[in-house]
């Protein structure tokens, strides 16, 4: 009678649906090549401003920077911060804006009419965002290092990659929390804009979090991107892990990795259910 699966889908079917979502978004964004170029250029331009400020301070800049951060390589420090910020921004925008954009275009109702769960759809969007974000971040970082003549392979590259991957999963859990807010409040731009800058400030975009006031520093440590950024800087530049050893900082990220997505999905599902009781999920 129907070619669709009735009842609970298999893991393979769920994975196939999530990958179809990822693939669809890849196809979609490939038709906006200008947007993809911007994502490589913007972090470089963003980091260039403080880098050039540092250069303007002459030879003392590197020495002073080392005294306060543990590395003289402020160029790589700033490029890492800019690209980590881009990853965080992308996570928030891709998840929150996915919901908002689909509500406006009417496609959110279309996908909610299918038996694929919103968790599966969100996973597909997250995977797409990770692939797109990481590709842009790596290209931007390498291009930035080329432009400013720093060695991108200084330090432990594999450990840096491990910190990035461990930091991304809880990041999307946090992004899903804001997705829930977007579903409820229906105003994505202001919320996402505010949160991305708040998180950017807390994660030490262009400075070590040690320079933040004590209360703000504690708040910063509640965010996975702070641990991710510091982990990458420590692996590549030797600035120093928060707990002194890489495996202790990694353990904290693993705890975030376990709880942040679960908490994000739980909040998202509750908000979704609440909205279904009233105006309906796809309603704009």
């Amino acid at each position: 009678m129907t070619t669709s699966t009735i009842g609970r889908p298999t893991f393979r079917q769920t994975l196939s649906a999530a990958l179809a979502e990822t693939r669809m978004r890849m196809i979609n964004i490939s038709r906006y090549p200008g947007q993809l170029m911007l994502e490589i250029i913007i972090p470089i331009v963003f980091a260039a401003m403080p880098i050039l400020l540092g250069r303007a301070n002459g030879a003392d800049a590197a020495a002073n920077f080392k005294a306060n951060t543990g590395t003289a390589n402020y160029v790589a420090f700033l490029l890492i911060g800019a690209n980590a910020f881009t990853l965080v921004s992308n996570a928030f925008w891709h998840i929150a804006y996915w919901l908002r954009f689909e509500q406006e275009t009417g496609t959110l109702e279309s996908v909610y009419l299918t038996p694929t769960s919103s968790v599966t759809l969100a996973s597909g969007v997250a995977l797409y965002s990770i692939v797109r974000g990481l590709t842009a971040a790596f290209l931007a970082f390498f291009l930035g290092c080329l432009i400013f003549r720093v060695n991108p392979f200084e330090g432990d590259v594999w450990l840096a990659l491990a910190f990035i991957l461990a930091g991304l999963i809880p990041l999307y859990g946090v992004a899903l929390l804001f997705g829930a807010v977007v579903l409820k409040v229906k105003e994505s731009n202001a919320i996402v804009g505010l949160m991305q800058w708040a998180v950017g400030f807390l994660m030490g975009l262009f400075y070590p979090v040690a320079v933040l006031p004590p209360l703000v520093r504690w708040a910063a440590l509640l965010f996975p991107p702070t641990w991710m950024t510091n982990g990458v800087r420590s692996a590549l530049l030797g600035v120093g892990f928060f707990f002194g050893e890489w495996y202790l900082d990694m353990a904290v990220l693993w705890v975030f990795m376990l709880f942040a997505p679960l908490f994000g999905f739980w909040v998202f599902n509750r908000v979704e259910r609440g909205i279904q009781r009233n105006e309906g999920v796809g309603q704009f």
């Binding site: 070619t3 669709s4 889908p9 979502e21 038709r31 909610y112 009419l113 105006e279 796809g282």
Partner: protein, 335 residues
């Protein structure tokens, strides 16, 4: 049972806020559905008629699990609403938001294959199904172009194609011929009839009365969240107690006219001279379909020569206006 829909006292109340000033608002409850109950049989084309704000879209959104009802129960294809929602979604094909439910940067084929994946079709099955639908709806030329290049009517056609991707036993089509030109609308209706003949149940909402009359086995008229009338189109028309009127022109003798007036069910038969021949106006309680053969037989038996027959039928619009006091164009949305 597949194709069957059963609704028991379904209600939906929206909680909203009404602005009273710059910073003040007050809570307001809007009853969109008030205890609706009816059944749709497997294999029928069931029409939903009602003005804007009547509750049609709310009802459809409840049945398709987009909206949770406030109270009441429903079973769609044998699966209970709010308990087996995934199974409901898997066994219903929907065209609800027309061209707005498509990804405009993707091609038509890419849209179909993507939605096939969300219905858990295998990669080969979704491509095969997309090819079948593209061929059936004659979308060949359009299928590999981005949807943003389509006309409104072409987007509606693709939206209809999307509703067919999971080959569901129940189709819910919300104004599917909206913005379609006449040939495309005719073609779509023919496809719907064909699908119905293959055994699919169809819930069809439309503003076009003639479409409801020709497409639907049964029609429900909804207004202000209530079902005001439900039945086949002839039943609804018969419920009007309005006389059928037939005008016959030709050569009709007085005897023939009297014989017609004596027929059971005929209330009046009056003759008049029009353009050199007789016009016989017959009014009856019977509907057109049963009256006409008897009229012609009687006239022929009395040597009348019939040149023209003009029936004046009760239309569904008449039924609608009689039940609701409004036309379909009137807006019932809560102000």
């Amino acid at each position: 049972m597949y194709g069957q829909v059963r609704i028991e006292k379904l209600s939906k109340t929206y909680q909203t806020r009404q602005r009273k000033g710059l910073f003040k608002s007050e809570a307001k409850a809007i009853e969109a559905l008030t205890g609706i109950s009816f059944e749709i049989k497997p294999g029928e084309v069931f029409g939903l008629l009602g003005p804007n704000g009547a509750g049609k879209t709310t009802l459809i959104k409840c049945l398709t699990t987009l909206l949770l009802p406030t109270s009441g129960r429903a079973w769609i294809n044998g699966f209970e609403l709010a308990k087996e929602d995934n199974s409901i979604r898997a066994t219903v094909g929907c065209m609800l938001m027309g061209e707005r439910g498509l990804y405009w940067k993707l091609t038509g084929r890419e849209n179909l294959v993507f939605f096939g994946a969300l219905y858990h079709l295998s990669p080969a099955a979704r491509r095969r199904r997309a090819d079948e639908i593209i061929a059936r709806l004659d979308l060949g030329e359009l299928a590999d172009r981005a949807v943003e290049t389509y006309s409104s009517g072409q987007k509606m056609k693709l939206a209809f194609a999307k509703a067919l991707i999971n080959d569901a036993p129940l189709l819910i089509l919300d104004e599917p011929t909206n913005t379609l030109d006449l040939p495309s609308a005719r073609e779509l209706r023919a496809v719907v009839r064909e699908l119905n003949q293959q055994g699919k149940t169809v819930i069809y909402t439309t503003h076009i009365m003639s479409e409801a009359e020709t497409m639907c086995d049964r029609v429900a008229i909804i207004d202000r969240g209530e079902v005001l009338a439900l039945g086949t189109v002839p039943e609804l028309k018969a419920s009007m107690n309005r006389e059928a009127v037939i005008r016959i022109e030709g050569v009709i003798s007085t005897q023939a006219s009297q014989a017609v007036e004596a027929l059971p069910g005929v209330t009046r038969a009056a003759t008049a001279a029009v353009n050199g021949h007789t016009q016989l106006t017959v009014m009856a309680q019977d509907d057109q379909m049963t009256l006409l053969p008897r009229l012609i037989e009687t006239l022929t038996a009395h040597h009348a020569v019939v040149q023209k027959i003009t029936p004046e039928e009760v239309t569904l619009e008449d039924v609608f206006i009689a039940r609701t006091g409004r036309t379909l164009a009137d807006d019932t949305r809560v102000k």
